[in-house]
Assembly symmetry: D2
Homo-oligomer: 345 residues x 4
């Protein structure tokens, strides 16, 4: 039973159907096809503002291409110390920025506090050319700890960023889960709150492989973004298959339906853990990830029984449990039952 990652779930049937549909005929190469050409309009509709959209196969590439455009090589990228771009992308942001420095910031639940951000930006560049220059702020939504920024929190970060001349990027690998949990509109927690560019994730949310860079009203960034996508080898010749997935996701709000299902499973799991004597929740569950603190023996016992999940790096008693649209209510019940059984007894 796989709680390891939403990356390990299968794709949603509607996404597969869209690919089959896109395969019926010839289509122009290199994102000039009729699917890719509809992305701007569909995202603009979903986000209630003019969007420029670049489909991209991976989230690491989406994030890194954006950071490459927003930070000069001598720039500093302000992010949380747990941020995926800092911890898990193998140096891709440094590659695409040609060597920018990621400045890791502390903050509970993988959320950056606006005061922390302001102080860090102000301190980072005081020595001019001798320092890397603060260039962009990047936040993750939902965060690496499974929490979600409220729109007002994003707005506060955007004020700090914009007040110092820095654009605000949102890594939305689990953006759908955050929006579904917040119950707000996509607009409210992005451009209306000050986000300038979003890495819109679909892969973790039921696509095969489909992400998108969504730019809110900054057309001057487009040429650089497109050049960097090509130069990174990410302008797929048959981009239609990525774009068709994105279109399927936006169709009738499928992306939010999928996320709601995953979130519901996470909420059930969290509720069971809270009721349990064997484990506690490490952070509030505000998306589809559950961080459970339990005795290492209990965690090992669960693994032995076939429950797959990651132990958080640097800990032996903290488990990350990820739910997906393909996780069943029965699986949650089985897990909780096994948790109850795994206690000292």
């Amino acid at each position: 039973m796989n709680f390891k990652s939403d990356n390990e779930a299968p794709a949603h049937p509607a996404v597969l159907e869209a690919i089959v549909e896109a395969n019926r005929d010839f289509a122009t190469a290199y994102a000039a096809d009729r699917y890719s050409q509809r992305l701007n309009a569909r995202f603009s509709e979903a986000f209630e503002t003019e969007c420029h959209v670049l489909p991209i196969a991976t989230g690491t590439a989406a994030n890194s291409i954006v950071l490459g455009e927003l930070s000069p090589p001598w720039g500093a990228v302000m992010c949380h110390q747990n941020a995926h771009i800092h911890c898990d992308e193998g140096g891709a942001p440094e590659f695409y920025t040609h060597g920018a420095k990621l400045v890791p910031l502390a903050g509970d639940g993988a959320r950056i506090h606006p005061d922390t951000l302001g102080r860090a930006i102000d301190a980072a560049g005081v020595h001019g050319v001798h320092n890397c220059k603060p260039a962009v702020v990047s936040v993750t939504q939902a965060t690496e700890c499974g929490t979600s920024y409220r729109p007002a929190q994003i707005q506060a970060l955007a004020e700090v960023s914009h007040g110092r001349g820095l654009p605000l990027h949102m890594d939305g690998a689990r953006f759908a889960n955050a929006v579904a949990w917040l119950g707000c509109s996509p607009a409210e927690v992005t451009w209306k709150a000050g986000v300038d560019v979003l890495s819109f994730g679909a892969t973790k949310n039921g696509a095969l492989t489909a992400e998108a860079v969504v730019v809110f009203g900054r057309p001057e960034w487009l040429e650089g973004l497109e050049r960097r996508r090509k130069r990174g080898g990410h302008l797929l010749s048959k981009m239609r298959y990525v774009s068709a997935q994105l279109l399927a996701m936006l169709e009738n709000g499928l992306w939010l339906d999928i996320a709601r299902t995953a979130n519901a499973r996470a909420a059930e799991l969290a509720a069971g853990i809270e009721r349990s004597d064997q484990a506690t929740l490490e952070w509030p569950v505000e998306a589809n990830e559950v961080f459970m603190r339990a005795d290492p023996d209990i965690l090992q016992s669960l693994k032995t029984r076939g429950f797959e999940f990651h132990i958080w790096p640097g800990y032996d008693d903290l488990a990350r449990l990820v739910c997906t649209f393909a996780t069943s209510e029965q699986q949650i019940r089985d897990f909780l039952s096994a948790l109850q059984d795994s206690g000292p007894g």
Copy 2:
């Protein structure tokens, strides 16, 4: 009727089926899945030697990641002046090599002559640190002009390269077409002839998006290749969908069947052009591309009738016509008939 590119054709049904099949269950992320794990064995079988295989979504990325591993940042990459890596990849090889210099060489039909190569390598590095250092030779098979290197020609280039300490890379975006046309084994025109690493293309040959770096017996390159793939954002979390396509291609020689079909259409087209008074062949047709020289008025007339193809950059009377497995015999007949009608006659 689309002769623009094999990138514009749909994917082969068997490839789509393989994706659907791979979607039945959860699978481990980041190329640790059961599909990706079978690639080494399947390619080793197809190439009759031990292969190390990295699935990658695009040919530009495959080429650039290889060049990044084989050339230091101060290196010189020896290639034909028409090479895709030099002309059409938007600077991706320079990006992944951190600034290597591509040294373009002349040669009929987009083929490099061994003497040209030897002289160029010898001349390029005579001033030590003041020059870029010749580091790797890259050839395209089939070439950008639709010709194919014979095994003996590859061997001659490999001798020149290896004799000067340079590895030999093959950009095989249309490798299947070349092998099918040559009628040789994949081994004969690669490692047996001295190729050290191959960018194996499947996207142009009926996949959705699937390429592979195939390394012949140089395990010391693997760590760098894997690091560079991750750092370029090309380690797909759901790599299984790429690997499943590659496995489907290798199953019962599907990749060669597809290529043979495309080549057969190209041969029919070439034969018709040769019989025609309106046009001539620019280069021998040794894969699935036909380069047709004709009066610009004729080319425009064909376009007006709905035949889509590219005019070669820098020319107004040279058309590139690409055939695919989805091109029908009827389409070839229609084109040739239209060609005959388009004359001044």
Copy 3:
């Protein structure tokens, strides 16, 4: 007797004295000293327009930092195929641009013809993101063949460049020699003719190690130039010693006096070669370099007699003879006499 390079001559005594003078007291570090702070004013005076000046230790760094600022990583740098930036800087321009492509152009005497330039720019970018994007034009003055562009020639190149949105950079490693030979003002052959930024060379012209990037009225480039200089490790902590050399050079036109002396020796040498039966001039001598074509045996004979010079790469019968302010009239006479004696007799 050394005709190998102006890099091998000693520094001019006045330059040394300026260093001694600059050493009398403490001075602020990192180019905030009183010497560096005077450069803008002194160059503005010499060039009759507002100049922004960055002192830099080497010409390779000056050129590369400028190109890094003027070309994006996916840019194409248009230059002559003999250009120092393309042939002799070990990939430094590629390093500082993060992988731009240098596009080498043909042209007699290492000079680019405006028509060649225009056609090359127009051809280079026709496929959008699939191509590197023409970003900057770089010319060398005096050229690598010892010729000098006339102001009208520079102007014609600037019109081609600017008309296509590309700035014009001048590599002035031997700028003093060109200006001295042309007999024009520094302004006439730079900003008045359309040059946007100049690598002003002093090292080859009697400094120990001192170059300068001179920007004509483009203050928006300064931050990037300064960041790139620091990031390349070229913001010397004791920059005063470089700046003092530059100030000494500009004092009472010393830089042009030194260049005139070197040019005079080259003219004497050229005149002697023209009179000789043993050798011919390859290109007109329009600065301090003389390219002499002679039988390989004659060249070897001269070397045996202790005359040091370079044989041009790829030739065995073409010698480059460089004159400096430290070359004496007697040395020229000795060389010419030896040349006369070295014939088949």
Copy 4:
């Protein structure tokens, strides 16, 4: 009275004399001159082992070129959080490494503890390609806090590094001051303790601009170091002037004499501060830098009286006072007297 930086002091007369001497005649360009050619032998003598030496104009370049050679682009450079390479080089290490990540470590007095280092290396790379890979350890000697590692401390760090396959680099911008203070041999605190490569600083110690990369017994690094030096624009054509400074420094131990003088001034200053009621020492004074904690009003009062020094970033009550060979005993007395007078009394 300047306590701001040893970078602001004039050069030592013997260094200037060496430059004048090196200027007497022509010399081969690009470090093939007779001065540069003697560096290996002279450093080998001073360090009692075979050394390979690359003269370089700046410390930032020396450090960055070394890190570029020792870390792949996806590498992690382990260093103290106060390290000059991390805080003060404007991203040069990221530039020369093509985007490596600097991992900042805590530690009293800017010294890294071996346990901290071991844990950090072990933690940094646990996720394989998803992480940057620990590649090299860099320590500063004397440190940014004016302390000096004992040979045994270096040895402990080297054991941790080498035990994990990482080479050990020493940033020796103030290496002379550390050696002079430790009273050990240069060998004892470098290669005998496990240092693999040293950035040997002379600029802060009385040179005009002269640093050197000194490699202990790792000839396989030389080609890369030389290529990177050239590519960074740091292979000075007239390198003789840098090399002559280095030779002058090594002549009769001048470098250690200069450092001893600076250290003696720092010791006098430290002793006076310890006796004072107005201020305290922040860290033990083990080189030529004194960190003095005092009321902000006192620091301002001292500045008003003409004493120049830096306030440590992030503090308002911590002054850095740097002594040099050109600092006089009288200046120390004047400062201490002013300090005494500046109190509230």
